[in-house]
Symmetry: C2
Subunit: 197 residues, 2 copies
């Protein structure tokens, strides 16, 4: 796959994507999908949309969120959002032609994912195609001495990805754009449930 | 007024408070009040509540948001939120015993505020008491060469306030906790209006 990472003199602007929490599964239930744009540890933009729990609208929603944003690289927190609402990184890559780093706190277990999809979804094959297409899983030490993270890559080689991950993992092993997106998404959904904002 | 700023070896944790945007005034209309907790340029917490446009619930809402938060200092973006929904910094100070820095992009014009309150609100006297109690307005160069900001202080002296403001104005003349709170609040309300999140 071609690589579209242009490391000019300017620091990279990186979009991190995370989802909010939720209590209940059920038809029509939603949670938030949040994107945060950061450059050199500074937040430059923040967007949010509702996505359906176990739905299949996350790719489309993220696509809409990113269309008017100027960025160099996407960091996803895995591909499953709001339960099993999968974000298709290949589709994002084809649209935006920007490298994507998929980051997981634990080693992704695709066999378990396939089983769960088969068990719970009639349309499991559509969902499985998204997971199946992903490349190899790399173990990366994002911060010296911290537990490693797991990384899947699209449109970027491992060396460049490691540099980017280490530059952005400034306060814990999770790169800042994802850490901040999670903090905002979880903060908002928790308070939305409690205070109906 | 006593000063409760404990500058230990640990960097200060500062809460920045800002509001979202809104289109229409009208009964029951709301926008967001967002608080962001930052320490050394790192976001550690983010909270949000709805507040009524031109209402008087902002102080109470902020009070609730901060009660379970551990912080050293509050930065307010003025005292008028969601139109003329005033946050009473003296009341916050009495509750939390933490210094408050009120920051304004333009020089606050309290005579104009009084006139507007008188013209638009039957309860203008309650609102005016909040503004009236504020101390002198200082002009501060938060970032070398940038337009100055205007500052009102509670429980902190000017020298300590200037140090704190300069330490936190890392990417523009507006200190980072307020800049980020605004970015999140405006980002969310804009998208809430457009996409009904």
């Amino acid at each position: 796959m071609p690589i579209f990472l242009d490391r000019g003199p300017k620091p990279l602007s990186i979009v991190g994507v995370e989802d909010g929490s939720f209590n209940l599964r059920g038809p029509g239930k939603t949670t938030l999908l949040v994107s945060v744009l950061m450059r050199s540890g500074i937040i430059e933009d923040m967007r949010a949309r509702d996505i359906v729990i176990d739905g299949l609208d996350a790719t489309k929603k993220l696509d809409e969120m990113l269309r008017t944003l100027d960025f160099d690289l996407i960091m996803l927190a895995g591909v499953s959002y709001a339960g099993f609402n999968l974000i298709d990184p290949i589709s994002l890559y084809e649209t935006f032609r920007k490298p994507i780093i998929i980051i997981s706190r634990r080693r992704p277990n695709n066999i378990a994912v396939k089983e769960a999809l088969r068990r719970h979804f009639k349309d499991w094959k559509i969902r499985w195609t998204i997971v199946e297409k992903l490349g190899p899983i790399y173990e990366v030490e994002s911060m010296p001495g911290e537990t490693k993270i797991y990384v899947e890559l699209i449109g970027i080689d491992l060396d460049a990805a490691i540099i980017t991950i280490r530059e952005t993992a400034i306060c814990c092993r999770i790169p800042e754009p994802i850490r901040v997106a999670r903090l905002i998404a979880r903060g908002l959904t928790k308070q939305r449930r409690r205070h109906k904002i």
